[in-house]
Amino acid sequence: MEIKEVINNGTTLIDIEHIAKIYQMGAEYVHAIRDISLQIKKNDYLAIMGPSGSGKSTLMNIIGCLDTPTKGKYLFKDMDVSEMTDNDLASIRNKEIGFVFQTFNLLARSTTLKNVELPLIYGGYGASLRHEKAMKALVDVGLGDRVNHKPNELSGGQRQRVAVARALVTEPSIILADEPTGNLDSKTGLEIMNLFNELWKAGNTIIVVTHEEEVARFAKRIIKLRDGLIENDSVNHEQRSLIEDSQS
């Protein structure tokens, strides 16, 4: 808990130093990430952009603790992720990271509520607390009346909201979204981005991986990757906020 207090003061959440990721494909070695260094602070809103093959998915997997770098150092809240075991990584994913995927990745046979409860089950929460937290997360994303629906009974936008609720439910340190609007029409996509905006304003740290300028425009900071290197890392001075748009 002490650590969180420190981070609330704006200290570094993620500290990546000279990481590289090399895959072996047959006899060839593929350098998905060559050399990337990056710091992400609490309440950052970051968009990672780049064409396919630029290494953005690999970077996302590493930031999300789904994968570990081949070289370099990754500190998450001062913990060395590059040295962690699979179980420690699973534990970090459970407590500290909320994923939102392009294809939603909900469990098809489970209800909305069960899907949102899933991280809490692995977090060891009891049934009643689980239910309470999942309900709150669903209400927060505007799906309080859809808790007993299965994913195939929901629209794409609603499914992505369920995914966001699932990402939020453990109150993670970062929300990591991979092309969150990729499978949605532009109107629904905007709704989801608006939701991210609200979450960011509420104090969450958000990382969005995208190749769409439209999506990246919402972020406070935009990183552009090319060939496994950071091509550009800059503050987005024209940050778009849909809430303000609709007010004006």
Partner: protein, 418 residues
């Protein structure tokens, strides 16, 4: 392992099985057969045990039988044949002199004669000449009428107590008391029927008739056969003492010099344990082979379907891992699923076997009397054992698929389209 995770895993398993009902059924077929073997084998064995106990109860666990023949000694048959008969006078002397026993009665046996009632005729049974005290032993328990009295015994009255099978053959459930039967031309008054006592091991007990020994001798002659002596100890604790006294007394009566072997045997119910042991072993031998074979088939069936399940649910595994499921949790999920699948097979086997066992035990003995020892109800311990075995087999079958699932790379797994 947290309770949360276990209950979650059980729910997942049921969900997965309900999606593929037919497939689950087919996958567990091997286990169904394997568990059926376990259950049926256990059922037969427990029936045998019960038969043994019933046999003990008829012969009486506190009974000793002095005989020319050793009950357990099939191998020494030639040697026993050379033994001198135990004569009626030796038996009588023994019965008079033995002190520690509650009862000691001579039993003479004769085969090969017919018994006639009106136009009915029956053979293949044996006649026992005995004393009135026979009515005090478990073998002399009466179903209808009475046993013969001391007076009838003393005068050698021509009265007879029928064994259950003989009674059925001659009178077919009618009241036998007061009717006359003919044995070798002589009339005997039927005074009672012995309780049905036969078990698979001891089915001849219902196929014998009892009469006072004097009457027996007047029909079949005094000599030419070996008489056995039934000794009732009164309690199992007295058995050792009585065995020692009996041996000494019998050696003395039969003039056996010190250092010479006994030329008689002291039999007790223990002798039947070895007979049962052989039967048990043969049931095991056949059963265990079939069981192992079908469990191997069962394990392969479940393992195969679990591999399919892991492949089909790779994406799901990826999602679960992404939100924090540890390797151990995923591993457990598939182990639990395999165990439940197998247990589900066991339940089918329970149901099937219960019906089979009930029908077999109800109807088969009518055609094959030797199977009368089988119980129509499965012992619950057996169901418990079968449950554990099935769960164990399922877990065994699930190990390799579960390890494969647990070791899936989350990035790869999430990339899958299914």
């Amino acid at each position: 392992m947290k309770i949360n995770e276990i209950t979650e895993n059980i729910k997942i398993a049921f969900e997965a099985m309900s999606v593929n009902k037919l497939r689950s059924l087919l996958a567990s077929l091997g286990v169904v057969i394997g568990i059926s073997f376990v259950i049926l084998m256990g059922w037969v064995l427990s029936g045998l045990d019960q038969a043994l106990e019933d046999t003990f109860n008829i012969i009486g666990t506190d009974m000793l039988y002095i005989d020319k023949w050793d009950w357990a000694g099939g191998r020494n048959w030639k040697k026993m044949r050379q033994r001198k008969n135990i004569t009626y006078s030796q038996a009588t002397e023994f019965c008079e002199k033995i002190k520690s026993a509650e009862l000691a009665i001579p039993n003479a046996r004769e085969f090969g004669y017919k018994i006639k009632y009106k136009n009915e005729e029956y053979q293949g049974m044996s006649f026992i000449g005995t004393k009135w005290e026979h009515s005090l032993t478990p073998a002399g328990a009466i179903l209808i009428g009475r046993h013969f009295t001391q007076f009838e015994d003393d005068i050698g009255a021509n009265v007879i107590v029928l064994g259950y099978k003989v009674y059925q053959a001659l009178l077919n459930d009618g009241n036998p008391v007061g009717h006359y039967v003919k044995i070798d031309g002589r009339k005997f008054l039927v005074i009672g029927v012995i309780k049905k006592q036969g078990t698979m091991l001891f089915d001849f007990v219902d196929n014998q008739c009892f009469m006072p020994i004097k009457a027996f001798q007047s029909v079949f002659g005094r000599s030419g056969r070996s008489v056995s002596i039934a000794i009732k100890a009164g309690s199992i604790e007295n058995l050792d003492e009585i065995r020692v006294e009996s041996e000494g007394l019998m050696r003395q009566i039969r003039n056996i010099k010190p250092g010479e072997e006994n030329d008689f045997s002291i039999n007790e119910t223990k002798a039947f344990e070895s007979t049962i042991a052989v039967l048990r072993l043969s049931v095991w031998g056949v059963g265990i082979g079939m069981t192992v074979l079908s469990f191997i088939v069962g394990i392969i069936g479940i393992m195969n379907i679990m591999f399919v399940s892991v492949t089909e649910r790779t994406k799901e595994i990826g999602i679960r891992k992404a939100v924090g499921a540890k390797k151990r949790t995923i591993w457990m999920q598939f182990i639990v699923e395999a165990a439940i699948l197998s247990f589900f097979g066991a339940i089918i086997a329970f149901a099937g076997c219960s019906a089979l066992v009930y029908l077999t035990a109800t109807f088969l003995p009518e055609f094959v009397p030797a199977t009368a020892f089988l119980s129509p109800v499965l012992p619950y311990e057996l169901l418990l054992i079968a449950s554990f075995v099935s769960i164990f087999v399922g877990m065994l079958a699930g190990v390799i698929p579960a390890v494969r699932a647990a070791n899936l790379d989350p990035v790869e797994a999430l990339r899958r389209e299914n």
